[in-house]
Structure formats: C-alpha cells, structure tokens
C-alpha cells in the first residue's frame, strides 16, 4: 500500500487543464474525451511517478467517450480525481467503476449545467447588460465580461474542489437535495420576467393599418384599440406563436426562415 497524497496544487493544475482546454479538440466521435485525459495527466503522473505501465493505463481509461457541460460538469472530474487517489492508495476501484461514475453523472450534469449556465445565468446577465447598453452606456459589455468571468470561473473551481473533497456524496446532494431545483426555479422566474422586458425593447411591432371611418376620422387599430387594451400585445402573441413551434420541435433554422418570410409579407403589405 502506497501513501501518495495529492497536493492542492496538483488538483488545481488538473482543474486548470480542463478549464482552459475542455473544448479544444471537441469532436463528433468522442466529444471531450481527449480533454478529460488531458485534465487527468498531472494526477496520473503524480500518483504513479515511475510506473510507465500504470501511467499508460491511467490515461487510456480516461480517453473514452465523455461529454458534459464544462462548467458545472467539473464536479465529475473532482470525483474522478478523488477516486484515482484512492485507487493509487490500494482501494479496489475498477476501470468499470470509473466508467460508471463518469457516464452516469455526465448526462444529468449536462442537463442541469446547460440549463444553469447557458439557459439561465448567461441570458439574465445578457439581458441586464443589453438593457444598460441600450441607454447608450458603454458599461454594458464591460460589466457582462467581468461578471461572466467571475461567475463561471467561480462555479467551475468550486464544483471541481467540492467534487474532490466530498466525492460522490457531493454530487448526489447537489442533484437530489432539491437545492438545485430551488435555484433554477427562482432564477427561471426572474429570467422569464426579464425576457418579457426584452420583448418590449426589441420587438417594437405595431399595426400600421388605418381604417377610414368616413369624413376625417380614422381608426387606428394600434393606437385606438390595442394600446388601450394591452400594450405589447402583438409582440406577446408573436413570441407565444414562435414558442409554440419551438416546443413542437420545429428547427430554429426553419423558424428563422419563416419569420423572415412573414416579415417580408407583412412588411410589404404595410400591416406592420
């Protein structure tokens, strides 16, 4: 039984390799496999300093198919590092156990991670910073850059080190304790409301049509009716219609085409 302990520096080096190069060689065949092996390299080399055969098999077992959300998913790497350390100390952890943990966690964490980073955090920060920019304030993009950098780096680093520290338990708690649901739930509410705010700013659609009521009086559908009933009704209906098709699974490219076509038709006819 050997007694090799990983230092904080080793774990940080491993995290850095992933954080920097997770998507570097992203490919259709095994997605992030090579980046995963890259991140484990400092760990394997430290744990088996002179044993070339062990080093080789260590890297080989992390070259298999891997794909998750790179920021939140780094908790998986933390767990894997902890497992590698235990194995080097003599615990009977098989190659299958590594595969099981990695493939078992990568799906759920991709789901939660993509929702959280790409679906909630980024759009909310973007919406706020787009709002700032729209007031002719150059601070918008700069705040976005700094805030994203701090938030994403913070999540990734903490996920990795907590995974390493608490092992599998950490992941199970994050995934099943209801905590993550609460965060996503509150953030979704905020996000949905902010999206509504963007509708007002960026979908300035109004009816142009005027109806002649005889004599000098005209009736404008927009100003005389819609603005009094529910301002922003047209953008709302348009967004809900698009949402309906998005939910039905119509591809975004087709929807873009349809919107462009719809815009050409209604624009030419002078409806909008």
């Amino acid at each position: 039984m050997k007694d090799i302990n990983l230092s904080k520096k080793d774990v940080r080096k491993s995290w850095f390799n992933w954080f920097m190069f997770a998507q570097s060689s992203y490919n259709y065949e095994r997605l992030q496999a090579l980046a995963f092996a890259h991140s484990m390299l400092p760990i394997i080399k430290k744990l088996y300093p002179k044993d070339k055969a062990q080093q080789k098999s260590g890297i080989t077992r992390h070259m298999s198919f891997f794909n998750t959300e790179p920021i939140c998913g780094s908790v998986i790497h933390g767990v894997t590092v902890a497992m590698e350390e235990e194995r080097a100390k003599g615990q009977p952890i098989t190659d299958e156990a590594f595969d099981g943990i990695k493939t078992g966690l990568m799906g759920p964490l991709a789901g939660v991670g993509d929702t959280l980073t790409q679906g909630v955090i980024t759009p909310i920060m973007l919406a706020i910073c787009i709002g700032i920019t729209n007031n002719n304030n150059i601070a918008g993009p700069i705040i976005f850059l700094l805030a994203q950098f701090m938030v994403m780096t913070g999540i990734s680093y903490n996920m990795w080190f907590n995974g390493y520290k608490y092992g599998r338990k950490a992941v199970e708690e994050i995934m099943s304790g209801g905590k993550i649901n609460r965060v996503i739930e509150a953030a979704s509410l905020l996000g949905t409301m902010v999206m509504g705010g963007l509708v007002g700013r960026f979908i300035p659609l109004k009816f142009y049509l005027n109806f002649n009521l005889g004599g000098n009086s005209t009736f404008n559908l927009q100003y005389d009716l819609l603005d009094k009933l529910m301002p922003g009704l047209i953008p709302l209906v348009l967004t809900l219609a698009v949402l309906h098709y998005v939910k039905k699974g119509t591809s975004p490219i087709k929807l873009m085409g349809a919107l462009i076509l719809f815009g050409i038709i209604t624009g030419c006819m002078g409806i909008f």
Binding site: P141, L189, V246
Partner: protein, 254 residues
Amino acid sequence: MEVTFLQAALIGLFYYLSWSPWLTYVGFFTFNRPLLAGFITGIILGNPLEGALIGAGINVIYLGFISAGGAQMGDPSFAGYVGTALAIASNLDISTAMAISVPLGTIATVLWIAKMTINSFFIHWADKEVEKGNINMVPFINIVPPQILLFVMSFIPATLVVYYGPTAVNGMLNILTPNILHVFNVIGAMLPALGIAMNLKLIGNNFTMPFFVLGILCSVYFHMDIIIISIIGIVIALTISAINYRNGDKGGIV
C-alpha cells in the same frame, strides 16, 4: 467607411478567439456573445458605442442560444463580429444589421460542423501515442493541432467577409428602395421573438409565464429599464421561493 485589411484581420482574430479555449473556457461565454462581439468590433472600427448597440440588438436573436452535445442553432459569434462590422462599414441601422446578420450566422454553422468532424482525427492520433506510451503527447494533441485547424477555419472566412463584404452590402443598398428597408426593419423586429422563445422553452412554464406578461407590461407600458425589471423579478423570486420553503416544499414547480 472603409475597412482596412488590418482591421478586418483583427476582427477575424477575435472571432477565432471567441471559439478558442484560450482566455479560459469563459471565452465561450463572453467573446462568443454578440453583445461583446459588437463592442469589440466597434472598438476596432473606432466606434465602440455603436458597435455595442448593434451587438446588443443581434444578441437578442441569439438569447436562447444553447450549444449542447455538439448541436447548435447558427453561430452567434459570426453574426456578432461580421454582422456588426458590415453594419458599421455600410452605415446600417440596428434592425437592418439584425436582419443581415442572421443569415451570416446560419451559414457559418458549416464552419463549426466541419471543425467537429475534422477534430475526430486528432483523438485517433492521441490513441496511438498513448498506446506507444507517450502520454506527454496528450496535451500537445489536445491543444496545438485543433487550434491551428480552428484558426485557419475561423480567421480566414471572417477576415475575408469583413474585408470584401461592405462593397457587396453597399451595392445591395444602392438598389434597395425605402420600402424594402422598411421590410428589413420589420424582419429585424420579428427575429428577436425566436431568441426569446428559445429561452422560454427552457425556463418558461405555467408558473413563470404570467411573469413574462408582467415583464412586457413593465417594459411597454411603464417604460422601465431592464435593470429595474430584473430587480423587481429578484424580489418576487425570492419571496415566492421563501414561501415555498416555509411550506416545506422541496421545489419542483419547474
């Protein structure tokens, strides 16, 4: 205005950086988004504020942009850098810029697909080296060849389109009548619905959708800034979350 080759190349370089792993993975979450792409392009072309405003507009279309498992809708980054550059060079207004940048972003998806395909080659190379025991080759193969590939595939097309594009756009604008420009404005006003809807697919549900309507009202009727709307949103979210928590609900409305 005239875009010099150096300016075009700088924009091409930032487009490459936005898809590269350098500057840490956060580059994807920052330089890749049209808001920042527009700002950077604006700095390069000498008009940061206009660039940021155009980028902000384009960004709304890509608000629901999610890249998961190697699949994605369009290329927000290409739309952001190249779209803003063409808009500034040809003096387009924001909605026209939005309307022309979408097809650009859609076409550029081809670059991403090609990169994902060719990258498969490198992992086989790595397999062979590890098999031979050269585990130190892993970092090299993970970084250098894929990045050379990405650079060639992103820098060159973006630079060329930014350099030669304005002539084409200007030629196009000379033919178009004011009526057609109005149509561009209508299209530019409709496309953001897609980005917003894509995002709502993920976070919108029976519980949150009423707040979407509230958001629209705050914006259209009360003319509130997004930042005020988001503060109200935070207050409501925290209140509701606290009420649910007190009732022992473990969450799960979503």
